[in-house]
Amino acid sequence: MRTDELISALSASVEPINRRRVNRSVGIALVVGMAVAIGVSFLALGARTDLTTPRPLIFLLLKIAFAFGTTGAAAVYLARLARPGGERRVSPGLAALPFVAILLLAGVSLGQAPSSHWDRMVMGDQWLECLISIPIIAVVPFAVVIWAVRQAAPTNLVRTGAFSGLVAGGVSAMAYALHCTDDSLPFVALWYGGTIVLCTLAGALLGPRLLRW
């Protein structure tokens, strides 16, 4: 086959395309992923019931803010990474900012507490549940995000996979926060941050396999 034949075949009828399709797919994936994650968290774990006093409420908002900041930054970058050459416009440092912030806050809160409390502040009551739940809740959001990115054409598959994992982990942490009753900053930094990083690593490993085009 000659290339000019291919070109005339391809330009025989050219459909106008929607330039916003990449951003739209990522947006849809984000909303669907969030809905599924919250649904799973509610149905399988149940929402926390102690929101009558301000302290749990503040911590809930703080957890959600952390997860939301992570997800938001990652989703913006993911929409860029999904396009060919988009990796030029992504700085992983900025995406790590929420992690740095929560680690700093955790450090401050540990510094203010007596060291006999540290063990309890870091491990909480349910670190194991947190460690297991967030990655499991993240599975469906991850699949939806991968579907969205496959509508486009990422050229750096490891990094795109990592950011897909980061988005899914953030969404999942947001949903899990509705259930989790461990209210201490070091706990959030270690177990929320850690599991989100875990999801990111899993995404980076799976990216090259799932995203090829």
Partner: protein, 174 residues
Amino acid sequence: MLASQDGDAAAHRVLLERLSRHLRAYYKGKLARMGRGATEAEDLVQEAVLAIHIQRHTYDPAEPLTPWVHAIARYKLIDYLRRNRASVTDVPIDEAGEVIANDDHLSAESSFDLRRLLKHLPEKMQCAIEAVKLDGLSVAEAAQRCRISESGVKVNIHRGLKALAALIAQRTQT
């Protein structure tokens, strides 16, 4: 590029023709250094042209075009080399001469036969692509010939081209 995103067929053809020349120079340069022939370069040119066509919605008008094209070209080259990793090491030495012998500009043909490749696709995709892309019918006429709706024709062409790109990628795997 902007005009072809909006569905201007003539502009699209000019764009693909111009880009294909750049791609040919790019791939010939890269592959010649690895001791590979012009046919392989042409395979890659066509893979990249097809990718540019299928993925034209991923070009963001706010960004310059060259990095976008380069990213696609590079991705396809790396993908191709990865698929053929085994053969990178056992390229025979005498092929260096062959490269020069085959290096007649523009006339190189790739190793794919479009009509034969089409036979591997599901019937509806085959029919839609053949009618619109090869025989030059309008979408409405193609819908009649293939007995599917007009939007069905469009969907089948889109999916078919993607499947075709995958087939071509498979074929270049040696």
